[in-house]
Symmetry: C2
Subunit: 540 residues, 2 copies
C-alpha cells in the first residue's frame, strides 16, 4: 500500500513517485501495489479536470505507469473519460494493471456530494463490478466512499446502491480500496470500523490505501488500514507521513492496537497543513504577528515544528494600547521556540492615519475604526515583509473569532493560510496546555491572562463577547451540528436570546470570512471549503 | 407571472410579497399565478436548507400562502422534505395550490450541478409528472432546468430524462416553468428559444417565470417569457426589475419583437448588482478609490445610477507617483456624475511605513513591496470611512487584472463587492464608449490615456503586461472556454509561449482571487462562484 502525498495537478511529479514506488515494490518482492484515489492528479483536482488537455495528459502518464509495471499488479486512481451513459463526461476510476498490461478500470459508484465533496460536479457514477485475477487471487476493487455505505456510516445520504454487497457474489479473496479521506479532529477510528464491516460482509481481508498530505484547506492524515478476513486490524499506515507499507496477507494474525492521542494528531495535522502549503508552493519561511496572545503562540509552535524554527519569524507590533507584558510574553515564547522575533512599533503609522483622517472624523469618538486601523497597519507590515523577502504570512485567528467576526478584515485576517482558523478558542487552550505537558513551551502567562486584542485602553475580549465556552458551544451546535437555536439553548443551558444573538453574529460575519485566507480544516464543518452560505440574506 | 425579487432566507418578507401578489392578481381578475423557482426562500439558499428549522419555517410560510389563495390557482417554488427514495433529504419543488387547497407538489427532475449550480448537494431528483386541472385547463409544470434538455441547450450534461417529453402523453393545455436563471453578457435569446421548443413539443403555450434581482455574485435579469402554442414570443417581462405580468392565453396572437442592447443590459445588470447588495444588506452609501483611471470611472458611473449620485463618494488618494492629470480627471468625472469627491493624499502614511521598514529593507531596491504599500494605504483609508460611517467599499478592479494578479491583495482588492471584477478590460473600454454615446460622462482623457497603476515613476500597464486585447483573448479562451494553450495560440495568433506565460499567471494568482470580494458575475465563467481551482497545484 503506497500511502503517497501527491501535489495536485503535478502529473509529472506524481507519476515519477508512482513509478519509483513500483521499483521499490519489486525490490521488496511485492506482488500487488495499491495507490490512493485519483493518485495521478492528486485529490481533489477540482475544475482542472474540465480541461481536455489535463485529461489527455493523465492518459499519457497512465501509459508510462503501465509500461513500468512489469511483474506487478497495480491499482492506481485517476479521472478518465466516460464513454458510457451518465450525466458527466468523466469517471473517478482505478486503473487495474497487470505486468505491463491494462486489464481495465473499476469506476467509483458512490460519489459524495456534500461538505467538501463535489464529485457530482465532475463525475458520473459507475455501476459495474467484478473481480480481477492476479497471482491466483480474485481481487475486488472499490474507491473511497464505495465502502462506507455497507458499514452504515453514511448518515446524511441514502445511496441506492451498496458496492460491497454487489461484490459478495463475486467472492473476492481480497478487497482493495483507493481512498482520499480528510482528517477530522477527534474521529480516528471510523475508517478501521468501515474496513472491518466490509471484511465481515465479504469474508476476506481489506486494504484501504489513503492519500496523505495537505492540499489548500484539506488535510489528509494517512493511517491506511489493513484488516484481516475477520475484520481485525492488522496494520495501520503512519499518520501524516508518506508510508510504503508491505503487507503479507497470508501471515498469521497479529492484531495491532490502535494508539491515539487526539491533541498530538491535531498538532501533527496543522503542522502538515503548514509544511505542505509551503513546500508545495515554494515558500521556505513564514512570518506572522506575534502579539503575546495565545492564538499566535500556538501558531508559532506549529510553524516552528513544521518549517524549523530557523524559518519562522514572529513580529511583535506594539501599538499605544499594547501592554509591556505582551511584548515580554512574545519575547519569552520566541526564545522558548528558538524563532526570530522582530519588534516593530506601529505608533508612527497610526499617528499618520489619524492625522490624515481627523478632518473627516471631527468630533466623532474613537471606535472600531481606530481598532481596525491598528490591525490593518500590522497586516500591511507583514505583507511588506512577504513582498520584499518572499515569506508566507500566516494568519493566526481562531475559529471562534472568525465565527463572530471578532477580527479585522485585511488586518489580523491577512495572510496566505489560516493555520488555526478551524480551531475553536477552547481547543486552542487545550492544545497549549498539552504542548506544555513535558516542559513549558508556551509561557504560562500567555495561557493564564485574560484574552485581549489590546486595540483600546484596557480592552478585554470579555467586554464584547461572552465567555469562549459559551461561544464555542453555540458555534459547535449551530455551525458544526446544524442544531436549532432552541436545541442549543436547551442542551447547553445558555439563554435563548444569547444563542440567537450569537447565531446572528455568525451569519453577519459571513462577508469577512469570504475574504479570509484558506483555513486548515480540522472539524466536520469548517468555514470556507465545505460550507456555503449567502452573504446577503435575511434568515434569522 | 410574478417576476419577483426575493431576499435569500427572508421567509417573512418573501411570503408577504407573494401574498400581496395574490391580492393584486385577484384585483386584476387573474386565475392562475406563477412564481419563480424556490420563491419562498429565494434562489440560491445554499446551506441554509440544511437547517431543519429553516425547512420547518418554510412549511409554515407555505401554509400562509395556501390560506391566502382563495379563488386562485398558484404555482410557488420552495425546498421541501423528501419522503420518497433518493440520495438527499430535500426536493426542489413547486407547490401547486388551488383555491385554498394544496393540490400537491411537482418536483424538479433535472438538477444542475455545474458552474454556479450545486443542486445535487441539496436535492434528490423528481421522477413523476402529471398535469393539474384548474379552470378547465390541464396545466403541466416544470422547474427551470427541466425545460432545457428538450431544446438541446444543455451541452455539457447528458441527462437521462426529458421532463418535457414525459409530459407529451398528458396533453397539457399550458406549460408553466418556475425559473431562477442567471444573467449572462451577450446571451439574451436562449430562454425564448427554449420556451419555443417546449411549446412546439407540447403544442401549448409556455410561461416561464424568472426570479429577478442580485444575490451576492449572481445577477438574475428577469425577462420572463410567454410564448404561444406555436412558439411565438407573446410577452416578455421587464429586464432587471420586478414585473407582475398579466397574460391572456386566449387573446389573439400578437408577437412582440425582442429588442436588446448588450451594453445597456450589462450596465443594468451591474447597477442591479450594486443596488441589491446595498438594499438587501442595509447599506445606503458607497465609497471607493477614484484614481482617475478607467476602471474606477466605470464603477463610479454604475454606482451613481444604482444608488443615486448623492450616495456615492469617490476618494482620490494621490501618492508621490500620481500625476496631476489623474486627480484632474477624477475631479471632472465626479463633476459629470454629481458625486462627492474627497482628495486625500497618502504621502504621510507612505513615509511612515518606509521609515519603519527602512532598517529591515536596507540596501534593497524599491519593488512591488512599495507599490503594494500605496495600494494598501488606500485600502485602509477606504475601510476607515466604511467603519466610521457605515459606507460600503466598492472594489474597482477588472477581470483582466484579477486574472493575472495585477492587483494588490488588501489594497485595490479591498471592498465588500467587486463591481466589474467579471468585466474584461476591453469590455470596460466598450462600456465607457457606450456610456459616452449621447454626452461625455466619462472624460475622454480617461478613455484615451494609456492605463497605469501610477505606483512608481512613469509606470504603465504595458511595462508589465501585453496589450489587453491579448490578455483578454487568453482569459476568454482559457478561463471561459476551457481551450488548450495550443488552441488559443492557433486561434488568436498569439505566440504559444506568451499564451503559456499568461495561463501560468492566471493559476498563480489564484491565492489572491480567493481573498477577493464577491465579484458580480456576468460571463459564463467568473472568478469566485462557479469556478473552483486549487491554490497550491502543479499543473502547467
Amino acid at each position: 500500500m503506497a500511502q503517497l502525498n501527491p501535489i495536485i495537478g503535478d502529473l509529472d511529479g506524481n507519476t515519477r513517485k508512482i513509478i519509483e514506488t513500483l521499483d521499490i515494490a519489486r525490490e521488496r518482492r511485492t506482488q500487488i501495489v495499491l495507490f490512493p484515489e485519483l493518485t495521478i492528479c492528486g485529490y481533489p483536482p477540482e475544475d482542472l479536470v474540465f480541461h481536455e488537455s489535463f485529461i489527455d495528459s493523465i492518459e499519457q502518464h497512465l501509459e508510462q505507469i503501465i509500461k513500468a509495471s512489469s511483474g506487478l499488479g497495480v491499482f492506481v486512481g485517476l479521472p478518465r473519460r466516460n464513454f458510457d451513459k451518465g450525466e458527466k463526461h468523466l469517471l473517478n476510476s482505478a486503473a487495474v494493471i497487470y505486468d505491463g498490461n491494462l486489464l481495465g478500470f473499476q469506476d467509483k459508484w458512490l460519489l459524495p456530494n456534500y461538505d467538501v465533496f463535489n464529485e457530482r460536479r465532475y463525475f458520473s457514477a459507475g455501476y459495474k463490478t467484478r473481480t480481477w485475477e492476479m497471482f491466483g487471487k480474485k481481487i475486488g476493487c472499490v474507491i473511497c466512499e464505495d465502502i462506507w455505505q455497507n458499514a452504515g456510516y453514511v448518515t446524511d445520504v441514502r445511496y441506492a446502491e451498496d458496492p460491497i454487497k454487489a461484490l459478495v457474489e463475486h467472492e473476492p479473496d481480497l478487497l482493495v480500496n483507493l481512498t482520499a479521506s480528510p482528517y477530522q479532529y477527534q474521529k480516528p477510528h471510523i475508517r478501521v470500523k468501515v474496513c472491518r464491516k466490509a471484511a465481515q460482509t465479504l469474508g476476506c481481508p481489506v486494504l484501504l490505501c489513503c492519500q496523505v498530505g495537505a492540499d489548500d484547506q484539506i488535510i489528509f492524515d494517512g493511517y491506511s488500514v489493513c484488516v484481516d478476513e475477520k475484520g481485525n486490524l492488522r496494520q495501520l499506515g503512519k499518520g501524516f507521513k508518506e508510508d510504503l507499507m508491505t503487507i503479507d496477507t497470508d501471515a498469521p494474525a497479529c492484531p495491532v492496537p490502535f494508539e491515539y492521542c487526539q491533541e498530538k494528531d491535531l498538532f501533527e495535522a496543522l503542522k502538515l497543513g503548514v509544511a505542505d502549503y509551503c513546500r508545495k508552493s515554494g515558500f521556505s519561511k513564514a512570518i506572522f504577528g506575534l502579539s503575546g496572545g495565545i492564538d499566535s503562540a500556538l501558531v508559532a509552535a506549529i510553524a516552528a515544528e513544521a518549517l524549523g524554527p530557523e524559518n519562522v519569524i514572529g513580529v511583535s507590533m506594539p501599538s499605544p494600547y499594547s501592554s509591556k507584558a505582551s511584548v515580554d510574553d512574545a519575547k519569552q515564547l520566541a526564545e522558548n521556540l528558538g524563532i526570530e522575533l522582530k519588534i516593530i512599533p506601529i505608533e508612527n503609522e497610526f499617528k499618520s492615519y489619524n492625522e490624515t483622517l481627523s478632518p473627516y472624523f471631527k468630533n466623532m469618538p474613537d471606535d472600531v475604526t481606530e481598532e481596525n486601523l491598528q490591525a490593518r497597519i500590522r497586516g500591511n507590515i507583514l505583507m511588506a515583509f512577504s513582498n520584499k523577502f518572499g515569506h508566507l504570512v500566516l494568519s493566526t485567528g481562531n475559529k471562534s473569532e472568525l465565527a463572530l467576526g471578532y477580527c479585522t478584515l485585511y488586518g489580523d485576517m491577512a495572510g496566505g493560510l489560516g493555520v488555526i482558523a478551524d480551531v475553536k478558542k477552547t481547543t486552542v487552550y487545550d492544545m497549549c496546555r498539552w504542548l506544555n505537558q513535558k516542559k513549558e513551551i508556551i509561557p504560562q502567562n500567555i495561557i493564564d491572562k485574560p484574552p485581549s486584542a489590546e486595540l483600546r485602553p484596557n480592552q478585554k475580549d470579555l467586554d464584547s463577547l461572552p465567555e469562549y465556552g459559551i461561544v464555542d458551544a453555540v458555534l459547535q451546535g449551530y455551525v458544526e451540528n446544524y442544531q436549532s437555536i432552541k436545541e442549543i439553548a436547551q442542551e447547553s443551558e445558555i439563554p435563548l436570546e444569547l444563542v440567537m444573538n450569537l447565531v446572528r453574529k455568525i451569519h453577519a460575519a459571513e462577508y469577512k470570512r469570504r475574504q479570509g485566507p484558506p483555513a486548515l480544516r480540522i472539524t466536520k464543518k469548517s468555514f470556507g471549503v465545505g460550507r456555503q452560505y449567502p452573504i446577503v440574506q435575511g434568515w434569522l
